[in-house]
Each structure stands twice: as C-alpha cells, then as structure tokens.
Amino acid sequence: MGSRESVAATNQTHIDKSENPAPMAATDITMVEAINLALARAMEQDENVVMLGEDIATNGGVFRATLGLKERFGYKRVMDTPLAEALIAGISVGMASQGLKPVAEIQFMGFMYAAIEHLVSHAARLRQRTRGRLHCPMVMRIPYGGGIHAPEHHSESMESMLAHVPGLRVVTASSPARAYGLLLAAIESPDPVIFLEPKRLYRISRQPVIDDGQALPLDVCFTLREGSDITLISWGAMIYETLQAADRLARENIHAEVIDVATLNPLDDDTILASIEKTGCCVVIEEAPKHCGFGAEISARIAEQGLYLLRAPVARVSGLDVPMPYFRQETLYMPDEGDIYQAVKKTLEQIT
C-alpha cells in the first residue's frame, strides 16, 4: 500500500500528478472505457489475471466493461460462466487460492446477494483461518447505484453490507482516472477486493487518462477540492452531485472541501479528520439508505475522534430507508444537488 506521504500526489487524478513528460499520450475516455483499459493492462502484465462473469466474454459485459478482452486474451482467460452468482464467487475463491487472480463481474449489485456467503465466509477469511497458508487475491467488480431508470433490482447501493465484512477491501471510484488507478490496485492487491462501479458515472463524462499501469493506493481518501468553510464527504456516484453543490456554494463565496472516500474499507480517518479540523463542520453524502449506511460509520468516527473539532452537528444526506424505488419514483429517493446545498446551509446556520 502506498504511504501516507504519497497522498498529496494521488489526491489529483492520474494526469495531474505527473510532472514529467508522460510516456504515453492521455486520451479522453469515459469511466467504463477506463475500466476496460485497466482490465486489459492487468491481463497484459500478469498472466494469472483471469476474468469471469455473466455475458462478459463474447458480449463484452452488459455495460461493455470487458469489451474485446476475450478476443485479445482468449476464452481461457475471459470466461462466460453459467448464470449463477454464488458459483461465480465460489469458483473465484477456488481459483484465487491456487495463485490465479480472478476478476469476477457481478452484473448488478441487486444480484450479488447469492454471492455474499462466499465473500463473508471464505474470501475474507481464507488467509486468516489458514494463518497465511492460502490467501484469496480475487476482485469482484459490481456495478451499483441508481439514477439510470433501470428495472427493479438493478439500482441498489448496498455498499455498507460489504464494508462491514472484516477482511474485505471495499473500493469505489468516482472518475475515469481514479477508476483506472484503483482497479489496477485492486487487481494487484493480495487481499480480496470488492470494486464498486457507480454505473451512473460510466458514461457521464470524459477525462484524460494515461494508460501507464500506475495503481493508486487502496487506503486513502482523495481530496478533490480544497476549501475551508465546510467538509463534504462522499464516494461513488454521489461525488458528481457533491461537486455540483460545491460549485454552487462557491458562487456564494462558501468554500467547501470535497473528499472522495474511495476506500470504504480500510477507511482513511486521518484525511477526514484533518479536513474537519480545518472546517469545523461536515456533511456526509451517500446514495444508500441512511440506517446503518456507511455514512453512519464515518459520522461515528468523527464523533469518536473529532467531536471537539466540530462547531456544528454532523449532517447526513442519504437515500431513504426504503427498498430502492422502481424508476418512476427514483428521483424522490436519490439525493440531489439541492439536498446537499440545503444540508450545507443548515449546517452553517448552526455553527456556534
């Protein structure tokens, strides 16, 4: 894992951090293209990297994240599995135990539940229960989140279920460049990693990304925007609305610091607390239901370690404590830029 000293450098995107002339030209690509680029790079660099999942080989994945990989690396390394999520997770554990690096795709988070037994009871525990004799360097990629008018069971944000599991690394990206660097890090990691892909951001924008094989650290938050008035903490797709709210606030001369948590487990408390030390207040923004959401963990850590840094109560903006609504009512559920803006204004009014 990268040292904390490297955080400053990695807070920027891939592009920003390289001061020397890049060996390759940066290309403007979407997040899903960046993911594809990282997968191809990982397969090229390490013959133990294999891909598996439903519709990932010939079809290139329902989101096309694995497009062209079967043609390039062959069917033995890019495998269409039968339609069975528990099996996908279970065979990944078996393959990983023998030195392969399986990168499994679960098509939508709403279908991951059958796979969870293998993540909790085996992937996360294998190194521990064999005292290091075996380990499980698998990656499970899971597109997640709502806002794309998808069918039922296609829009969940259940990341806190995964972040609760000791022994699993849980990572999510919010830009093409961070998706590239974090996915490479996930595949390089000797630990099991859940890589959550905010599918609403798959094609929402383009960003220059250099395919230089550089991984990002898996245990730091990224400070996307500096500010001294309030700290906005989020991850995944909600970073998009959070940055929009920060823009609006800036026009009112309110300077928000925006932190992309990125690695939900392990969590980098230090970056969050250092920001709150500066701003004295914060809003935690998540798409998931509020009750036991990951925002609760962040809020609790702030209370435990930084209560006296706060000048106003911690605020949370989240989804509702309801099952993800079917798409006609999706907007009632999804936190938006207005919710974040209001929470910030209310928090600032409460400052003592």
């Binding site: 390394r77 554990v93 078996g94 135990s97 023998q98 037994e117 190194r127 064999t130 290091g132 245990d219």
Partner: protein, 365 residues
C-alpha cells in the same frame, strides 16, 4: 468415459460379512489391503479419542466420522500429491493420508487455526469447510485453475447428503459438466443431516442421479467397502486427470455417531436402525476378509491396535503441549499487510491479552 467394471450398483467388492463379491481390481494387492486396514483402525481410535477429549473439555465441538472411515481412506489412498483435496468436516482420514498430522486436526478442533497450516501433499488443500456445500464451488474453481493451466491433475471435494440440496452443489456440478472440469465430487451419504433423514432430503432415487441433470457421470458405491471406494475414486481421478470430465460419486454409508458432540441422535432416530448399521460398518468386514485369506492374525491385530493407540496418544500429547498462539494472530493474518486503520485494534488486543494474562492452555475457556 464410463466406469469400466460391469458391476451392479452400488459398486461393492467386499460385502458386510467380509465375503468377496467380485474379484478385486488388480491395483489392490495384499500390501495395500493391510495399509487400508491399519489406517481405518487408526482413524477409528483417533475418532474415539477426539470424542473423549471433547467430553473432558480438552477440545471443542467435534464431528465424528465413526462408521465412515472407508470413504476417507479410499479417497486418501487414491489421490496423488499433485491433486487438490477440498474437504468438508468428516475427512480426518483423507487429511491424515494427505499429510495433515493428527495433532493438527486436534489443534483445529481445539479452536486453534494453526491446525489449518498443512504441509506436504496437503499444502495447497483447503481447510475443512463448515458452511454446507460452499466448498464444492471452491473445488470447481480449483479445477478451473487446473484446466486453465493445462495441468493434468484433479480436484476432489467431499460433502454430506444434506449438501446435495444446496444450490452451490448443483451450480458446481453444472459448471463441471459445461466446462469438462477435472473435478470429482464425493458425497458421503451417511443417511442423516443432523436430524433430517435422507428420505426427507431429496425425492431422487439416488443422489448419484443428480449427476444426470449436469451431464456428468454419477456412480453409487458402497462407502463402507474401502476397496470399492478406492477403485471408483481412482477411476474418477484418472478420468479427470485425462481431461475426460467430472464425476459425482455417492458413497453409501451410515453416521454411527451423533452429528457432532453437541448433538444427541437418540432424540430422532431409533436405536434399532443404528444397531443394524453397525453390522455393515467398514472395519470388521475387511478384518474378516484378511483373516480368511491368512493375511492377518490375532498377533497382527494386537500390534496394530497398540501401534495406533501410541500414535494417537502422541498426537494428543503434542496437541496439549503446543505453546499458545500470539494474541495478535487474531488480527495479523486478516490482510497481507495490516492497514494503518487497524493499528489501534492491534494495540487493544495486546492490552487485553496483558490484562487477562492470557496463557495458552488449549481447551480451557
């Protein structure tokens, strides 16, 4: 490829009385028969000892394999060191033959995961698996890795009859069929999944029939005849190593003991059924046969029992003398490298271990 010996199902060479029903396969000679026998006896004695250790508070809950030893010995004798074994939790015989020391088995059931640190042929084997049937998918994954790497090895996984009701079992067989995996799945059909009998587990005529839907071969074998188990498993492993696909083997046996030491089987099954099952157990029939053939006598039996008792006692002594694990072991193997966010909990463990003056006496709460 099909099992070549034209024998009625379930496959059996030695019947319950020790009479030979069919000529033994050529690869089972007298030396091998005696080795089978000695391991069966050793595991029976070990199993009795392990139950006694649990009753006296020296290990935790233990899952006895009494009556099912022939399945484990047959499998263990058929596997090659380059194959991978994925056990469930009644596989002490196979694990022993793979090189897992009996002391390690006790260490595991004594609540210490250092008992999962295997060496030798078992170095890449899985530790035993408690969540039912999940291990079958892991074995399918290992078989997939072998296939990807063009290895000519096989993966063998065991499960109980209850496990055949779970999705993981079907999903794995299905994959093994589609991908022609070098996988052998052995079901220890001991007739009882805790209190639920085989008849309430599935309406299938045989559990081996479950292979049909997956498009692989299913074979039913007398799991109390170590010769039959060895022969059928050897065949399935050969087939797998040759790239000819997967096999499901249903080994018919009977759980003569409780489900685990935490169970009381008298609550749900008649003693007559258990007594009848004792007449079919695997050890006596082989001893009878060896006697008939003049390969065994009272003196050999006496020596065998004494040697096995010594071996088991040495394992117990070694287990009880094992120094305690480091308190921080509870955390230090979770990730390849301890994340900074867990440094605080590591210190908390050290502080608590000091406060409680934690020693290392195994089995003592």
């Amino acid at each position: 490829m099909r099992y070549p010996n034209d024998l009625p199902s379930p496959i059996q060479y030695l019947d319950a009385s020790g009479a030979l029903r069919h000529d033994l396969p050529a690869n089972i000679d007298t030396k091998k028969l005696i080795r089978f026998y000695q391991t069966l006896v050793l595991i029976r004695i070990f199993d009795q000892k392990a139950v006694a250790l649990q009753r006296t508070g020296q290990i935790g809950t233990y899952a006895s394999c009494v009556g099912q030893e022939a399945i484990g010995v047959g499998i263990g004798e058929a596997l090659k060191p380059t194959d991978i074994f994925v056990p469930y939790y009644r596989d002490v015989a196979t694990q022993y033959l793979r090189g897992v020391a009996l002391k390690e088995t006790l260490l595991y059931w004594g609540g210490d995961e250092r008992g999962n640190v295997y060496r030798g042929a078992a170095a890449c084997d899985f530790p035993l698996c408690v969540p039912i049937a999940t291990q079958v998918t892991h074995a399918a994954g290992i078989a997939t890795a072998m296939k990807i790497r063009d290895q000519h090895d096989a993966t063998l996984v065991t499960c109980g009859d209850g496990a055949t009701s779970r999705g993981d079992f079907y999903e794995s067989l299905n994959l093994a069929g589609v991908w022609q995996l070098p996988l052998v799945v052995v079901v220890n059909n001991n007739q009882w999944a805790i209190s639920v009998p085989r008849t309430l587990q599935s309406a299938a005529t045989t559990l081996a029939d479950k292979a049909i839907a997956a498009g692989i071969e299913g074979i039913q074998v007398d799991g109390n005849d170590v010769c039959a188990v060895f022969d059928v498993v050897s065949y399935a492993l050969r087939k797998a190593r040759a790239g000819k696909g997967a096999t499901l083997i249903e080994a018919l046996s009977y759980r003569l003991g409780d489900h685990t030491t935490a169970d009381d089987a008298t609550r749900y099954r008649p003693v007559e059924e258990v007594n009848a099952a004792w007449q079919r157990e695997p050890i006596r029939r082989l001893r009878e046969y060896l006697h008939q053939q003049d390969h065994w006598n009272e003196a050999a039996e006496k020596k065998c029992l004494a040697d096995c008792a010594d071996t088991v006692q040495a394992a117990v002594d070694g287990y009880l003398a094992t120094p305690p694990q480091a308190a921080t072991d509870v955390l230090d193997y979770l990730f390849a490298e301890l994340p900074m966010s867990l440094y605080g909990q590591r210190q908390q463990i050290l502080d608590k271990a000091e406060r409680l003056s934690l020693g290392g006496a195994h089995g003592k709460p």
